[in-house]
Structures are given as structure tokens and as C-alpha cells.
Symmetry: C2
Subunit: 462 residues, 2 copies
């Protein structure tokens, strides 16, 4: 449940009730910026990372304005963004208004009670999103691109000279492999042809040939739209190579594809804020198992990065989640507020419903793409992601011509990124509000634009 | 000069003029979110990092709504933030409304023409802020905390086993030294007593004893408020150890202390968004000299980080600045938009005026602190920062008691962070709008709150 204080009218009087002097704005209009996700700032406890254990809480909640509970909804949210082309690339996605408004939260200290509580709740909510109740699981939220999650794995869970098996599905698994090599891992890439994924027998064979510290899998390779299956993969690894850590790149899957962290026995999932989670880019978000954290603690050498060091961040994340101020490097209060809002919206319904909603929209899109006579990069329906579709262009149609036409129709798709086929396909992202809020009509407009755009370029359905 | 499109009324009709279908919001209220810094999204060029060279520009600017130029001003900006305690810690600072509104910019592709132009302009504006006209200088803007700047230096400019001299001024120089060690540097710390900095003769002696790849100096050590002098320091290093790179931690100095990058012969300055630059936290911002970039290119070993690798980011930054879409890891469009707004505001006036404004405010604050009979951690006026003041508490007054009293008066100061004196002092940050917009009255209220708060705790001026 999300509590929203009614600050728009109360704030000045509430300020006085709190014994604070409101800023000198005698003719101030009703507060406009970012009202939805904001709590009236409580009285701040002492503002220092070292002071945690020594100080009593100085927040006297009896003085705070009374809060009326209501659920966050997205129903009217798209009304207040200026008209703009609908962003349907595989991230960043379209954002809900409440999330965007949280981005403009007034400045607050990274160790203030209000922000610490928000950050702590955010970390706890991530446990629900990843479906882990094991208290040994450890969430991390760091300022950075999603790519920073690869460094987090490579610099903390792997030591120089250790073997890692990377399941090769495209551009993003190649990137993960590169990152692992930078930190000294011996990487074996088990590559599948474009548009497919390595098979379980191939993986079993690879696992039997070497002892791997970790296996990495790109849940959805954003370059191809190939979906990897995690449950049976994880069961296989646990069976044939039980000491191998199972690490998932979930950048384009978390919050749109099912991930059952505990039940499937995963050891790490790294993702980013701007995809299906629906929060602007700028946060690396991850979850690691107790087993992964133990592997980190048992390293023989210190972690090989500083900003991406679990040694530096683990106590900070644990303190934040325990609602204790703590400091290693300054987090972004605005981005964390926005993530809090996004996660509150996601968890207002069962996550299974969210996954089903993405699957239903994806099925429709893929049927429409098929009806247009187009082929997907991921040919096998079992290997098709539910948050994006990578579509081969018809013979004679250039992405360089089609994408600007779609943009003029108010729909932004992405071009190709996989080197082997870069000019031959386009990518259609369908995550978050664009698929879950049917009143937006984003998907219908996109499909219609695609059909019209192709026709304008002379394409006729076979 | 900052151009602001008048989008609030034009957007729907302009959308139609562009041949785009506006989203179905027939009864949409006037757009509210983030209107100030937004340009109506232009027609997007093809949306792929690989497509840069092959495509003509698809942005037909003749179709864009006409833009009426006016300067960004901060005069009315505080009106639309909800009442909240004034944040006067040494970062994050209070933000201008236009900057906060840019944070809620609608979602856009990280490789769209509009965003690429904004990012490119942002990088170019950083050159002006750092006062470098040397085309070989290279700016970086990465998603991350300010701390990531240390990794950028340690993983790219230094190779394992190389010697680095760290000028020790407190908590933050210790942190930089730790980071350098993680990446294999042999660090020599030349430590000064708390509240002071190493002297030039001490530094000259140290430089004569070993050949250092780099020397690092914390321009303002946020833990003590000690200001290091860069001009004479740099001249000394160039004289006695000309091959040594001069690296400045400018987290708490960039945009409030003078930094004349070219004239002083600096090789690297790393900073963060949330201090005097006045943009929410979440961006690591840095500038490196041609000499530093050459040192990077001449490495014998590859960079020892992936996300913080200059090899990965340099071409991206150069492409963005040339207004070409490019991809390594997804930047945060919202944070970059906000940084663009902040830098536009900063550069609307000569930077010298900005530094003088901070000095004038700082002088007033330090005089008021002295008049209260309080001592500063940085005792020597020549070593006192102009964007913050570290104030020793009077005998018998505890920070744990004083800070909550100040907070109740609507002013948030920070506690101590330097281990040797952590409970003995507080920190007062005075950067950005709080000092440059006198109509806010932030500084006067803060000084008054400090005086009253101390009196409430039984302190009487000597």
C-alpha cells in the first residue's frame, strides 16, 4: 500500500505546525512540482553517516500531518505530459506521470530520515519484484547505467583466472563476456546462431568439460529479442555443476518476464531502471543470493573495483533497508524516489498479473507482425521475449527509411544493434504503461503505423 | 543563451503540423510536466547506434515550431516547489525549479536527435565551466555517483604498480587513495593535520623523492572545508616533476571555486552533479587534458574497469558532442536534461561572477560564524572553502542536539564526517541558488537559526 500525503494544501500550515519557518513565498501559488510522490519532509535526524548507532530517532511522528491513504493509480497520469512521440524502443520506455513527477522531488539529504525510509522501502520492494523471501538475498541499487551490473558481477563474484561460461545470444551477452574479461575472468562463450539460444544439451556438455565459477545468461537479449528459459536451465546447472553461480542479465526482462528468484535457485539478476520497471535511466538494480554473497565474502583477493565494490556497498544497502542513514557515495534521491513510485505501482497488483499482461500484449503484437507477413529475429515462439519484438524488414525496405516514417506517425521504434544483421531488422519495445494501460492505445497505434509505413514504402502483404 | 520553446500551447497543433498524430487525449489539460526545459521532440532520425554515418539527418527544422528566445531566470523558480526545509549541506544542494522540471522530462530515446543534441551541448558547456578551450580536452558525463570519478582516474590513467602521490586533507582524499589502491596503484599519502593542507615545500620534497605518475589533490575536502590552492601547486608540479599528471577531486569545488583548467595546466578534474553545479545527484562529471588522454592511450595494459573505462566512453562522448548518436551504455536522459538546464543557467553569466558570488556569501557566513564566537575546522582564512563551512561546536553543545533544532527551524545542516573529529563539528553548505539568489534568504535564515539554536542549548557568545 502506498501512502500519499495530501501536501498540496496542507504544506504551509503543516510546516507551521511542525514549528518550521516556511520559506518566504507569501504569494506562492499552490505547490506544483512533484506533489504526487512526496511526503512532507519530516524533522530530520542528525545528518551524518557516522551518527547512526549513537542517536535516538529525532523524528517525532506525532507532529507530522495526518496522511490519508490512497492507492497510486496511473489512470489520469498520461494527461500531464506534453504531447510527444510514443517511445516504443526496448528501453527507455514511456513513463507514468507519477514516476516522472517523483523525478522532480525537492532536494533532500541522502541521509535524511525521509529519504532513508524511501530507499529502505525501495530495497524491500525489490525483494517482492524478484520473488525472493530468503533474508540472505541482497538487493543493490546504485547510480549507474545497467551495464554497471556487469561490473558488479565481474569485480565481486569472480576472481582473476576463474572460469565463466557465457551463454551467447547476441550483442548483450558479448558485452557481458567483455566485461568479465576486463576483470580477469577466463570466459568461454557458448554461442548460438543469431535469433536462437544455446540448448540445454549443449550447456550440459559445456558444464561437463570445465569447472565454472559462474554461468551467465542474458534473459532477454535486447539485440535479438531472444528469450532464454531460466527454470530448467537453473535446474540443470544445480544438477550437473552445483557450485556454479547462476547469473542472469535481466536488463530487458525484470518486471516483464517471470523471474522466481528463490524457487528457481538463481544467484544473481542484474537490471536497469529504464526498462520494464518503468523508472528513468540512471540506476543499476540487482539482486544476489545468499550463496553469491557467500562467494563474495570468501574471495581470496579484494574486489577489483571501487565504485562497483560490494565491500563498499553491502553495508550501505543493509543500513538503508534497516532505515539507518549510511554513506559510501551519494545516491540520487530523485531517481530513488522515482524507483520507489514505480515499484509501488508494480506491486499494487500481483506480479503474475503483470507478466501475464506483457505476454498477452506480446502475443497480439507477434500475431499482428505475422499477419503483416513479417518474420521475427527470434523465429521460435518459445524463444520470443514478451517485452520486445525484433522484426526482420521485408526485402527492399530499409530501416533508415521506415523508422523516420514511423516517427512522423508519432511512434519511435529502434534500429538494429546485432552486428551480423544490423540493417536487416527493427526493434519494437512493448513494456510498462504502453502495454498495461490500454487506454493509451500505444500498441494499436504502433501496429497501425507499422502497417501504414510499410505500405508507404511499397510493401504489400504476401 | 538558452532557447525555450513555447510548447505549452503550441504542442498539439505543432504536433499536427509535423505530421504526427498527437496521443489520444482529447480533454487533456495544458501540459504541466516539465515545460520549461523541453523542446518539442523533433522528428527522430533512425534510432540506432550503428546507423550514425550512413544516414542523412531526418530532422527538417523548417517544420519545427518557431522558438522565441528568452533567458532562463531563477527569480520565480522557488515558487513551485512544495515547502520543505532548506537543504544547506555540502551537497546535494537546493535546486532551481527549471532544473527539477527537466528531471521530469518525458521519455526519449538516448539516441534520438533531440537528446543527442542536448547531451552534446552539455559536454560543450562543460568546457566553458572548466575554462578549457583546448580541443584535446575531453569531458565525460556518466551515470554514477561522484565517486565513480575516482574509478575513472584509477582504472584509466594509472597502471598497476605505478606511483601516485595523494595530498591528504581528510575523508575524501583518503577515499581517493583507497580507490587508487584497489586498481593497483602504489599510493603515497602526504597527510596534513586536520583542518590544513600539505604545504608546497612538503609537496616539492615528496615529488623529489619518487617519480609519480600522478598527484591528486582534493580541491575542497568536504570533510573539513579545507580549500587547496591549485594554481601554484600545478606550477610547482610542472616545474619539479613535469611528467606527473595533476588530478583534482573537484566534487565540492566545481562551479563555486575558480578552476582555470588550461591556464593552470590541470590534467583531470572529477566532480559530481549535486554540488555547486546544482543538478540532482546521479552524474559523474569530469574533464581530462589532452596530456591525460595521451597517457591513457599509451597504457601498456588495458583499462582495469569496464563501466568506468575511457576506452568504452571516449568515442561515445566524442560522438555525442559531434551530435551523432552513439551507444555504449544507456545514459539518463532526464539527468542529462537537468544538467543541461543547470549549465545553461550557470553560463548565462560569466563564471568569474559566480565564483565571486560564492566568495562574497562565504565571507559573510564566516564573519557571522566568527561573530558567534565559533571556530572553523579550517582555521587559516586562505584555506577556507567558499561553498561550505565546517564549524567546531562550542564546548558542551552536541551536534546530535543542535542539528534537529536547526531542522525544526527549517534549515538542514550536516554532521561531521572526518573520523578524528566527527562529533565535534557541523557542516554548512552554501552553494548554488541558496547563495546566488538573495531573494530566497536561505543564508540569513540559516545564520539566524544557528544563533538561535545555540542559544536554546545554553550557549552564550564569548
Amino acid at each position: 500500500m502506498v501512502l500519499i500525503p495530501e501536501v498540496s494544501k496542507l504544506s504551509r500550515s503543516a510546516f507551521r505546525r511542525l514549528g518550521m519557518t516556511p520559506p518566504k513565498t507569501p504569494d506562492a501559488p499552490p505547490a506544483r512540482l512533484s506533489l504526487i510522490s512526496r511526503h512532507l519532509a519530516p524533522v530530520y535526524p542528525i545528518n551524518t553517516p557516522y551518527a547512526v548507532e549513537r542517536l535516538p530517532s529525532t523524528v517525532d511522528t506525532s507532529l507530522l500531518p495526518r496522511i490519508r491513504a490512497r492507492h497510486l493509480t496511473t489512470t489520469t497520469s498520461k494527461m500531464s505530459q506534453p504531447a510527444h512521440p510514443t517511445l516504443l524502443i526496448p528501453g527507455p520506455i514511456e513513463f507514468d506521470d507519477a514516476v516522472l513527477q517523483s523525478m522532480s522531488h525537492f532536494s533532500e539529504s541522502h541521509v535524511s530520515a525521509g529519504f532513508v525510509a524511501t530507499f529502505g522501502e525501495t530495497l524491500s520492494m525489490l525483494r517482492k519484484l524478484f520473488q525472493t523471501t530468503d533474508p540472505a538475498s541482497q538487493p543493490f541499487v546504485l547510480s549507474g547505467s545497467g551495464t554497471l551490473g556487469w561490473d558488479l558481477v565481474a569485480a565481486n563474484l569472480i576472481e582473476a583466472g576463474e572460469e565463466v561460461l557465457v551463454l551467447g545470444t547476441g550483442y548483450f551477452s558479448d558485452g557481458f563476456a567483455d566485461c568479465l574479461r576486463v576483470y580477469g575472468a577466463n570466459v568461454t562463450e557458448l554461442k548460438a546462431p543469431v535469433g536462437t539460444k544455446p540448448t540445454l544439451p549443449e550447456i550440459e556438455k559445456a558444464l561437463s568439460e570445465k569447472k565454472y565459477k559462474a554461468i551467465t545468461v542474458t534473459h532477454v537479449d535486447t539485440s535479438t529479442g531472444v528469450l532464454s528459459e531460466l527454470k530448467n536451465l537453473s535446474a540443470l546447472v544445480h544438477k550437473v555443476s552445483p557450485d556454479t553461480l547462476i547469473i542472469v542479465d535481466g536488463v530487458c526482462s525484470v518486471a516483464c518476464e517471470e523471474i522466481d528468484f528463490d524457487a528457481w535457485g538463481l544467484d544473481g539478476v542484474v537490471t536497469a531502471s529504464q526498462k520494464a520497471i518503468g523508472c528513468p535511466a540512471g540506476l543499476s538494480i540487482s539482486m544476489f543470493s545468499g550463496r553469491a554473497m557467500k562467494a563474495f565474502e570468501n574471495r581470496k583477493t579484494p574486489p577489483s573495483a571501487y565504485f562497483a565494490s560490494m565491500k563498499n556497498w553491502t553495508p550501505i544497502m543493509q543500513n538503508y533497508e534497516a532505515k539507518k542513514p549510511s554513506y559510501f557515495a551519494t545516491p540520487s534521491p530523485q531517481l530513488v524516489r522515482a524507483l520507489h513510485t514505480a515499484l509501488s505501482q508494480i506491486l499494487a497488483k500481483p506480479v503474475a498479473e503483470r507478466f501475464a499482461g506483457h505476454k498477452a500484449a506480446s502475443d497480439k503484437i507477434k500475431a499482428a507482425v505475422g499477419a503483416l507477413g513479417l518474420k521475427q529475429v527470434a523465429a521460435n515462439p518459445d524463444e520470443q521475449a514478451h517485452g520486445m519484438t525484433a522484426i526482420y524488414l521485408p526485402e527492399g525496405v530499409k530501416g533508415a527509411e521506415l523508422l523516420p516514417i514511423l516517427a512522423k506517425k508519432g511512434v519511435v521504434f529502434a534500429g538494429g544493434i546485432h552486428k551480423e544483421i544490423v540493417t536487416k531488422y527493427i526493434r519494437f519495445g512493448h513494456m510498462g504503461v504502453s502495454v498495461l494501460d490500454p487506454t493509451r492505445g500505444d500498441i494499436e497505434r504502433a501496429v497501425k503505423a507499422l502497417e501504414e509505413g510499410l505500405a508507404e514504402l511499397g510493401y504489400t502483404k504476401p
